[in-house]
Symmetry: C2
Amino acid sequence: MARAKSTRRTDLLEAAQRAMAEHGAGVRLNQVAEEAGLTSGAILYHYPDLQDLLVDANRAGMERFHDARLKALEGITDPAQRLVVTITSGLPIDEDDEEVRLLCALGGEAARNTVYAVLLTSLYDRQVAMYQAILESGAAQGEFVLSGDALTISRNLVALEDAYGYRIMAGHPTLDHDACAELILNYARLSTNHPLPTEL
Amino acid sequence: MARAKSTRRTDLLEAAQRAMAEHGAGVRLNQVAEEAGLTSGAILYHYPDLQDLLVDANRAGMERFHDARLKALEGITDPAQRLVVTITSGLPIDEDDEEVRLLCALGGEAARNTVYAVLLTSLYDRQVAMYQAILESGAAQGEFVLSGDALTISRNLVALEDAYGYRIMAGHPTLDHDACAELILNYARLSTNHPLPTEL
DNA sequence: AAATTTGTTGAATTTGAATTCAACGCCTTG
DNA sequence: CAAGGCGTTGAATTCAAATTCAACAAATTT
């Protein structure tokens, strides 16, 4: 037995995440094995069906992504700051961001794969709920004056960060992380009637 | 010789589009051949490298998508109507829309494939330019009172339609074509100060 | 410390797709 | 209508990945 059992599963999931981020949804068993530093037989021992591993890996990847965003909010109480931080944390840092690369690969696959579609839809809805809570608490405190209902604004905010994630990952010459954040903030300011300073 | 030469190339491109829409970026030569009603050898005769065919097919698919949107605008002069029509024509009708399915597959691949990244980036920019022209002419006519510069608003409009395209294709339970159009229109109204009636 | 279980390898096998190509039918041209 | 090239097929070959499994090593139990 090469490793403590508790980390074995995590190792496999992370290897699968890296492999899928690099090679896309059509990633090969051997590519996952290489990423894990094992042979294909060892992978198969734990996951007789590669698809199951990939689904688990993606689920874990989404959890991590979502959790990281929630964690970035910890300790921040000002609604405006919460909103700015959330917008910033939803965009890839640059086009090498592995976490977002995985999500992009998934998005392309979701149109043809029900399981991935369900996972991504659920992630989208959870992110919408996250924005909604921020907007509503900000409105309740009188900080924000919403231009419409919080659900509509939240859906648009998540949609914007999703789309700009793709633009950044595709290496758009002018739309980098900061430019995209500013574009989304532009909408956020408009719909909250709050100046939302970029710097805290 | 089975067919008139002028349609042969088009046939192949369309077969490749269908095959890639159905099977994703990892589509097999045989799948393209089956879509075309030929054997793999025949495909290889015209395109020794499948990747070249796929790139050409995607380029053609984007042209068609963009041209269809421009055509939908023909004869419409009222800026508000032009804006509404453009928003509507950018979204897939339903989750079976093959044209958008192809674009989604491409988007997922673009994070890992430079050629596709360039193609998609250019499509994005052209669509931004399309919105920009509409917004600026509407502003010049005094119909729209823009909340910011036209480029910013246009970038956000295209980003929204891209993202909602993915949501619709992933079969979101509540976000269908009309719901998404309404969400985008919500932003469009906000940023143009125009009521933008849904029905013409 | 022997026996058992767990995880892993590497080689052999199977599977399936890409590639190559000789042969063939159809269309065009001389 | 004969000759030549074009487009296509289907079979043979090559190539690459998935799958299977006997054997082995490390950890665990008894």
